[in-house]
């Protein structure tokens, strides 16, 4: 998958005509297996823009930086990333008329982070890894919202296997589950990369940064870590768009998507059929943004 030329053409058209002030895409890093987010702001920047197999990042998260400004922004999104745009639109974080959406029909990407680790002497694996873990069960490879589309529509990948790991955890005994979660959360170093990479985390002040009161302690203890992850995942209910960025960026290998997928499954079961960010209808809100008298409350 390499759409560099097409994106450069669109970018130069948009920047030269003044239709947008910036184009969010990728540039090449120090290695073939490294692509990183790049913002082109003028004609001179266009030659740096690329889109290749390593364009893994969900750039929609970066739009939050511009939520208080007026710039018009062109953004390149894959299928999953485009669902993030819908979340931002639903939460009134950015207005549709400020965006020019360049959608990519995505055949799956590779993870530059994993490739960097494998090639830098920190891992037993020496080869460049295969498709990013987050692409293994992709339900939406094609953009759900766009102004211009690149590539041929792709088929979903193994959608039937999406909840397999969730089911495994559900089948554990309470004790086994507790041990499992204690093990994964005891690793957390509280770098907050999972929050920062998340497009659904669009609060201006995060609960984990509140000091009066301090809702969650700053110790890296099992209790504070559990509290952090429990609150983080609950806040994802009805908001997670399954882009997998949180799990990809976690330096401790915590299976965050396992938890998010459980919430996706439960929201769909209790309030569904529902899947966050699949279609944009102006004024429509996700389940946990509205109150309805018919909402289930038998767990209270």
């Amino acid at each position: 998958m390499n759409y560099t030329e097409q994106i450069r053409e669109i970018a130069s058209r948009l920047l030269e005509s003044g239709q947008v002030d910036m184009v969010m895409a990728w540039e090449k890093g120090a290695f073939d297996y490294q692509s990183l987010p790049y913002v082109a702001r003028s004609r001179e920047d266009i030659d740096k823009i690329i889109f290749d197999d390593y364009s893994v990042h969900n750039l929609s998260t970066s739009l939050l930086r511009y939520r208080d400004s007026n710039e018009k922004i062109a953004i390149v999104v894959k299928g999953c990333d485009s669902r993030g745009l819908i979340r931002l639109l639903e939460d009134n974080q950015i207005s549709r008329d400020r965006l020019y959406i360049i959608g990519i029909c995505c055949s799956g990407v590779l993870d530059p982070l994993q490739a960097m680790i494998n090639n830098s002497g920190f891992s037993r694996a020496k080869e460049t890894p295969g498709p990013a873990a987050k692409c293994a069960t992709c339900i939406q490879p094609n953009p759900v919202i766009y102004d211009e589309l690149i590539g041929e529509p792709q088929e979903a990948r193994n959608p039937g296997e999406r909840f397999e790991e969730v089911n495994e955890i559900e089948n554990m005994t309470v004790q086994e589950r507790r041990e499992f979660f204690e093990d994964i959360f005891s690793r957390c170093i509280r770098c907050y990369a999972c929050r920062q990479a998340c497009v659904a985390c669009d609060c201006r002040t995060c609960i984990f940064e509140e000091t009066r009161p301090q809702w969650v302690g700053r110790e890296t203890s099992i209790s504070d870590n559990m509290m952090y992850h429990m609150v983080r995942s609950m806040h994802m209910a009805g908001r997670c768009i399954d882009c997998g960025e949180c799990e990809r960026v976690c330096p401790m290998g915590i299976p965050l998507m396992l938890i998010n997928r459980k919430l996706i499954k439960e929201v769909d079961r209790l309030y569904g059929p529902y899947e966050a960010g699949m279609v944009y209808v102006e004024g429509q809100k996700p389940p946990f943004s509205v109150y309805d008298e018919k909402d289930p409350d038998d767990f209270i």
Binding site: I117, S120, F122, R124, I189, A197, E219, V249
Partner: protein
């Protein structure tokens, strides 16, 4: 020359572990770091003396991520304060690389010099003996030599191990090292072995003049630009062997509780948030700039070296691909703005 065969290495660690808590580089499932030999599980853990380095730096052995300082209990008019006792068990960091040894030297500067001695740090540091593993085969993103680190002769090491064909050379450098040598003496052989020629570094960077140049670049537009990909997570600072910033926090239940310190990161909003609500480093640009200025300018002004040992971890672990080597190059290329 004192020498031992590769197959003996676990025996050596075991022997040292009779008198100290020995920390060894391991892959433990998804984790990669220095773990206590006491917790070693041969069915699960993978000891990695043969790999370049571990992902999580060993700084937590001397500067734990969360460290209790004292507890308090308010009883009527009186407050009883109980200082936290720091365990006095000797520790050995075994197989640490030169970049990470240099990082401990920098932390020593911060916590033990310039008129203030941090007692918590000192208590732990005094207990630590360093058995370093000299680097003959730098990794793809290693640039320690460019940052003034002698990868073959780590200064603060008590013992230096040198990988040779079939084994390691054991070189004691200090009194602490001699004590360790005595403990393992019967496992070492006297033998003349040929040392490897070190491989060349793949990546290099020239730090000369960067600290001085940065003085005029505080308001340069490049910070806005180069911080574009940065998501202001704490990975680069927590994976950095030299980043030592901490916050002091408290936990209490009614009238009793404890005070502790924990790692903090200049990437976080709370790091610079002031009581009145103002935040001088509101966005990625300011935090990103501070990180590089601290590493490449401020630390140099106070201690005469950059606060970077070229271990390459931040380059490898940044989810957004920020690269400190590239940043140093860009700083060198930048035209000071008027």
């Amino acid at each position: 020359m004192k020498f031992f065969k590769k197959g003996q290495i676990e025996k050596i660690v075991e022997r040292l572990a009779e008198k100290a808590d020995v920390f060894v580089p391991m892959l433990r499932g998804q984790q990669s770091g220095f773990f206590s030999w006491k917790s070693y599980d041969e069915n699960y853990d993978d000891i990695i003396f043969d790999l370049l380095n571990v992902y999580s730096p060993p700084k937590n052995i001397i500067l734990p991520q969360t460290e209790k300082m004292y507890s308090f209990d308010q009883q009527g008019q009186e407050t009883i304060i109980k200082p936290e006792e720091i365990p006095v068990e000797p520790k050995v960091i075994f197989g640490i690389r030169s970049c990470d040894v240099k990082a401990i030297e920098y932390m020593d500067e911060v916590f033990l010099t310039r008129t203030f001695v941090d007692e918590y740090y000192k208590a732990r540091r005094d207990q630590v003996a360093i058995v370093a593993n000299a680097c003959y085969n730098p990794g793809t993103n290693c640039f320690c030599k460019s940052m003034g680190v002698d990868h073959l002769n780590p200064e603060a090491a008590d013992v230096i191990l040198r990988e040779v064909e079939n084994g390691y050379v054991w070189e004691s450098k200090t009194d602490k090292g001699d004590i360790l040598t005595k403990q393992v003496e019967d496992l070492l052989e006297d033998q003349e072995v040929e040392l490897y020629q070190p491989n060349r570094f793949v990546r290099k960077v020239n730090y000369d003049g960067v600290a001085e140049k940065l003085k005029d670049l505080f308001d340069h537009p490049m910070w806005e630009r180069y911080s574009d990909p940065c998501q202001t997570c704490g990975i680069c600072t927590y994976m950095c062997p030299t980043c030592y910033c901490f916050d002091v926090q408290v936990k209490n239940w009614g009238d009793e509780g404890y005070r502790f310190r924990c790692w903090d990161s200049c990437m976080y909003r709370e790091y610079t948030l002031m009581a009145g609500g103002h935040n001088p480093r509101e966005a990625a640009k300011e935090r990103f700039r501070n990180r590089f200025l601290h590493k490449l300018q401020f630390f140099n002004e106070r201690y005469g070296t950059p606060l970077c040992t070229g271990c390459g971890r931040c380059i490898v672990t940044c989810p957004a691909g920020v690269d400190i080597i590239r940043m140093i190059e860009l700083i060198k290329e930048a035209e000071p703005s008027v």
